[in-house]
């Protein structure tokens, strides 16, 4: 079980080695999430139209190790973009992956780039 989660480490934009194209802007529903596959990873991608931003994070909820975060509702807490896991409503920041309830379950987040109507996610591998 542990090894599934170990492949998810946050990537910051400066360290990106691969910008992976995952589809067109119109493939992603507005103000909610969808899931993409990169190698063995499942990544949740959110078109946060209200904030005019895009976010990406691991699709794996670290609480029960199920691939469900792309199904969660997004929104904000005090202005910070967040996703609520559909299983038990744990809240994670989409900005840095931290757990907004203050416990230590965190998620990995990935940079998103939009170019010529296409969506790219940044990876280090």
């Amino acid at each position: 079980m542990q090894n599934i989660i170990e492949q998810y480490k946050s990537v910051s934009e400066v360290n990106v080695t691969t910008w992976f194209e995952v589809g067109e802007v119109s493939d992603f529903p507005k103000n909610s999430g969808a899931c993409i596959k990169y190698k063995t990873k499942q990544i949740a991608v959110y078109n946060f139209a209200r904030k005019n931003s895009w976010y990406a994070c691991q699709n794996l909820c670290p609480h029960k190790m199920e691939m469900v975060l792309s199904l969660g509702m997004i929104g904000d807490k005090d202005g910070v973009a967040k996703v609520a896991c559909p299983m038990h409503k744990k809240n994670f920041s989409l900005k840095d992956g931290s757990n907004l309830a203050g416990d230590d379950l965190k998620i990995a987040v990935y940079p998103v780039k939009i170019k010529d109507g296409n969506v790219y996610i940044g990876f280090e591998d």
Binding site: M1, I4, V22, G23, D27, F28, P29, K30, N31, S32, A34, C35, I36, K37, Q42, V45, F48, R50, K51, L60, K64, M65, E66, M67, V68, L71, G72, M73, I74, G75, D76, K77, D78, G79, A81, K82, A84, P86, M87, K89, N91, G102, D103, D104
Partner: protein, 839 residues
Amino acid sequence: MKKIVVVGNGMVGYKFCEKFVSQTNSKSFKITVFGEEPRPAYDRVHLSEYFENQDAKALEMASRAWYEEHGIELITNERITHIHRSSKKVSTTKDLHYKYDYLVLATGSSPFVPNIPGIEKKGVFVYRTIEDLEATLAYAKKIIGKSKKAVKAAVLGGGLLGLEAAKAVMDMGFEPHVVEFASKLMPRQLDTRASKVLQEKIESLGIHVHLSKATNKILGNDVITGMEFGEYDKIDVEMLVVSAGIRPRDELAKTCDLKMGVRGGIIVNNRMQTSDPEIYAIGEVALYNNMIYGLVAPGYDMAGVAVDQIVGDSKERMSSAIDMSTKLKLIGVDVASYGEPFMPVEKGYSIIYENKTKNLYKRINISHDGKKLLGGILVGDASDYNMFHQIYLNGLPIPEDAEELILGSRGEGGSSFGSVLDIPDAAQVCSCESVTKGDICCLINEGDCDNLGDVIAKTKATTGCGGCKPMVVDLVNETLKSQGKEVKETLCEHFSFNRQELFDLIKINKVKDYDEALNLFGEGDGCEVCKPALASIFATITMETPNKQVAIQDTNDRFLANIQRNGTYSVVPRIAGGEITPDKLIVIGQVAKKYDLYTKVTGGQRIDLFGAQLHELPLIWKELIDAGFESGHAYGKSLRTVKSCVGSTWCRYGMHESVTFAIEIEDRYKGLRSPHKLKGGVSGCIRECAEARGKDFGLIAVDGGWNLYVCGNGGATPKHAVLFAEQLDDETVVKYLDRFLMFYIRTAGPLVRTAPWLDKLEGGIEYLKQVVIEDSLGIAEELEEEMKGLINKYECEWKQAIENPEMMKRFKHFVNSDDTDDNLVFVPMRDQKMPKAWN
């Protein structure tokens, strides 16, 4: 840099670390903690919850990362074996040596295992650590799996922990037997009569109790097969959990000649110092005032005193009067005891209320002059515990006629307690975290906090056992009110309105969608609370299906299916009234076989198909719809089922055709979205086989028509529906239901079912009758029109979805690949399959 070594990483050892890091000069100390268990400290008080979820992480007090972040070295799986006081070192099982300037012993206690011949046999367990539980669980699986009939297991000890263990043993699938040496259960906390009430209650739940039994032998060859109490007195059991008290883990004190009690425990003074002033002892290993305190709250206090002595300004002392009051839920039964539960006659009087029909027992002990509450016991209903506890702790005045405390005041009908604000500021409200009333009120009065969440975040009140939550909520609300601030029920941080206000705002202003509502009446970008709440409001104003505003639907509504434990979904076609043709049954069977789904008949007389993946949902529904099925809305906060008995159609007792009417009503309200799920029932006679009184609306056939009942539900707090009107004809039933349901939908809070809604409705059922039957508000016609409008707009949302390619796009696991979720693992389960268990 001074070195502190903490021996023991249990709850109290952890509390020492937590209080240590909050000290300003903690940076000038280096702290090393040793735990002999493999994992960091966890919540032993709630150990039995491990049986429910087997989630060790959920019990964790703090993660390893927390210790790292605060520069605390945590060494687990390592036991300290010696203390060398002359060189101020400790050594471990691996013979490693660590220097200390201050040593804190928080080694806790171990279960006391009485020396009974045969106690070493296989199948005998103790109940203290997660490992103990895992071993017990593994053994249970092994022996229960083999047996066709009920397997018996015993718990030795009928105290607090023993009863917790009995519940765990019952949850494992055993027939549980509690064996207690004393003549009553919970002998330390309860008097004989209270114990009897508790005993009768838990026996009714299936737990067998054996009192006054001294076990003289464990029977069996090398595996336990029974317990013998006397020559002809024995029981056959195949497992035993020993929970007969605790013994302090004081063996380290013997290695270095610290002063100890005659019966164990390391003697400490009120600074928590042992006979060596640089060595402290806290928690269940410490013998203070000649007592071992086996509760977590005094242990936490001791940790606070020790931290203050070593790192702080050394002013704190352990109080000499330690409050041993406790309140807990044992096997679902409230039990509480506070102050002096047993009252010798020379000290005071007792007033006792006992009601065996309700398994209730309340005892209060009053001083001779009738002015003070000295202690008491509550069994069956401990809702007044917080108030009694405060009155006892702070010597608050009590009513002249003390019996009013437990019987309520006569005539007035009000509570005999004043406002929570009458409690003195020094009163401890949360004993787990030592938070006083003053702490809470001060935060609000000085403007540091203006809501419950902030108060909890700042004080940690309610985060321990949670027993003080109602009082904390009251205190926060009352304090805010006293400042003239309005305590408003709001939806969430994005909307400062309640659901009813938003319903009206959206309707009157003809708002089209969620974003418009948020721009007009809210702020920020929404969340998982307001999105589904508004989705429900839009659905009950315009009858729009979840396909219209997909992004604001809860996951279930978004995919028109119930998400299950492993991220797959379940499918429930509507089977109105529970009536189904053989042909349709065959279709369900064929579909389930084709897609390899687990099938189960639900409580609402329908069939649930589990284990469908996202991309399979439309395929499954296409086949079902082609066979004439439609959505059963099992995933929505909406009408689920109208359950029926077979009625006069077949039954020799039936008065009316209950199936026919149930189908009519279910078809009428299908697809109706509401604040919470809605369930109905129709019974064809007063034998009530459809359990209509456990539903939000229920009909029972009587001579001359239907009796209508409203606002019942099953679930966590079952409520019988209340008689609303009698001997109605079909048409009047439908009219009243239209009005009643619409009125509820308009006025209830989000996720409030009809029963709690009625509880809070001012004027109660009589008011509801006036509104619905007598039309006291003059809105009856409007309610009926509104309902008819919604009914006419019904369409099956699954049909809508599969006929629209744009809507179909969402039923796919990956956007950029046709692969499916490779994280799914199913395991066999009786001839079918189930998701692999959570770790």
